[in-house]
């Protein structure tokens, strides 16, 4: 089992996300994370899918995506040739006994304190999925109140863009 990141450019219509996720659901693809955003063109949205599975399942996922008329182009992104990151917000219990440990760990990861009260501390961290996983693992030693993370967004390195791909 491997992890794959696939960027999908789709028409920016009402309900397109539903079409994509409905296909994932009915064919039981194991989606790890999914983000959607507008792009440089208002007519198009970009979906970044992080998927766990075998190579054949990944190929099947791409082939099935191609069959959706709202899908314009697809690019599989490798770690080497792309930049990926995600955003984490994490709310920790502000316990006097652990406050210094929590804050120095946050410091070490470059997490920013975005809110602070005598009851809780909220950090924001923008980093790779791996680093965010590591940070959360560390925080498990203390009391996590709440976590919210976005899932990965990815762009290919270099001046080429996904819109230039014609693979139909």
């Amino acid at each position: 089992m491997s992890r794959y990141t696939v960027a999908v450019l789709v028409n920016n219509h009402f309900g397109v996300l539903n079409r994509v996720t409905s296909m994932f659901r009915r064919r039981q693809f194991n989606i790890r994370a999914l983000t959607v955003s507008e792009t440089e063109t208002s007519a198009l949205s970009r979906i970044t899918v992080v998927f766990d599975g075998e190579e054949t399942a990944k190929q099947q996922l791409i082939n099935q995506l191609y069959k959706l008329p709202d899908v314009c182009s697809i690019k599989e992104l490798s770690d080497d040739d792309s930049v990926s990151c995600e955003l984490l917000l994490i709310k920790m219990k502000n316990d006097a006994k652990f406050r210094d440990d929590i804050c120095s760990a946050a410091d070490a990861f470059g997490a920013i304190t975005v809110d602070y009260s005598k009851d809780y501390i909220m950090f924001r961290l923008t980093d790779t999925t791996r680093r965010i996983d590591d940070f959360i693992n560390l925080m498990h030693d203390f009391t996590i109140l709440e976590i919210c993370r976005t899932g990965s967004v990815s762009l290919e390195r270099g001046s080429t863009t996904i819109r230039q791909i014609i693979n139909f």
Partner: protein, 557 residues
Amino acid sequence: MLLSGSDILVKTLIEQGCDTVFGYPGGQILNVYDSLYKYQNEINHILTAHEQGAAHAADGYARATGKVGVVISTSGPGATNLVTGIATAYLDSIPLVAICGNVPTTQIGTDSFQEIDITGVTLPITKHNYFVSDAADLADTIRAAFKLAKSGRPGPVLIDVPKDVQIAKCEYEVMPPVEKDEPFAAKDVRIKEAVGIINSAKRPFVYLGGGVITADAQDEVLALAEKIDAPIGCSLMGISAVPTDNPRFLGMQGMHGHYASSMSMHNADVIISLGVRFNDRVTGNRAKFATGAKIVHIDIDGSELNKTVNSVCGLRGDVKLTLQKLIPLLKKDTKSDWMAKVDSFREEENNYLDNREGLTPRRAILTLNKHLGENTAVCTDVGQHQMWSAQSLNFKTPRRFLSSGGLGTMGFGFGAAIGAAFGTKERSVLVTGDGSFGMNLNEMATAVRYNIPIVILIMDNGVLGMVRQWQTLFYNKHYSNTVLGHKTDFTALAKAFGADGESVTTPEELDAALDRAFNADGTYLIDCMIDKDEFVLPMLPPGGSIDDIITKLEVEP
């Protein structure tokens, strides 16, 4: 010209070359029906008894003609009644455009009377669907739907049209019919790979499915088999693609396929698979399926390559165009050892053939064969009768065996037979069972209303035969809810609807009844009494392999 949305809808259907539509009116599609009234000299609307029948009729029309079938319904229950029909077309890759009315856009999302989110409901059973919120988009949406339905791997497309969009006025200009996307051959590099594999084959097997009929590639398939000296087998959906009397043709393979066809496929070293998708009824236990064979797979839909079985060479492309490039590169060869082996499988199959006296299922189908014209479309429902038909019917022309292969829809056949009769402008045949017939027999009213020449042959055994067969073999003869015990007099029923019919108990009676049926003016029903414990053989048990094939069965009462 300035027209209402409903006029534009009907005018665009006419513009796209659609001369016959099937459907059922209702509150939220009334405006479209008013426009159908207005343009009735240019487009023919067939009113069915139920929207499901209309969907199957549009599907049957499409299967028989290769054109896009069109079905129209109202919102809510009208739309949901289409669902089984749309799903049937989806699983068998049939080009269909379904048009539904809906409540006005201002009421959408408020759970209005007869409002249903039909684009949501049909999301997984359509190639694509559209909700039209502006009359200005209507004509282009219909054009896009036709293009999508028939392009690439065909399939159903649904268009949801709210009532206010049908009423709104808008400019309309006639456009030429849309062309399907230009078909393309597989890449040369893949074709080269395939040539290498096929040229080194010692025991090649040509395996075709519905994609060959869609691509109109029967000549190329026969030329391929001839050049490399290979036998031909098919999936259920491939039946009628090549003439059944072709000496290379072994018939359907798979769960209830011909012994020789399944055995040849299993013993092949290269399986050249054309427009098929290796569904579980075809492969049985995939781990034990054709283990010694390399699979060369040509399909227009890239997602079918390596989906359920791994092919050594997957070619994404139109079957016809790809074969046209491939065949000249193959070396002409004779494989007498292999063909002798195939013949030995055939001889063995002949030993298994059911030659009992009396009105056996096989004898009934063979008797029907004598009456079929070269152009007669035979439709089936689903169950034992479907398999007996698939095994023993004779065909000369493609698009003449219409059966729900993928979804396995009982109740498909009657609608399909209506659609096929309109499509071919000839008498069509429905082979059904008493179970399947019960599902949509209301379409008898449609058949009589339009005086459609349909021969209905009910294989009447008083049980749900296929389920019973499984209960006999795998469920300790617990005949749970499969004994119909009906007292229905199907002949009297036909007469009550205004058709004619009779009941038969011997092959001679059946022969004479078929004579009358094929000369009848309109629909004619034959209630063909068969035994409740007839089996469909051979049978590969579910999840089994060729080693588990059942060719003979003695079941004590």
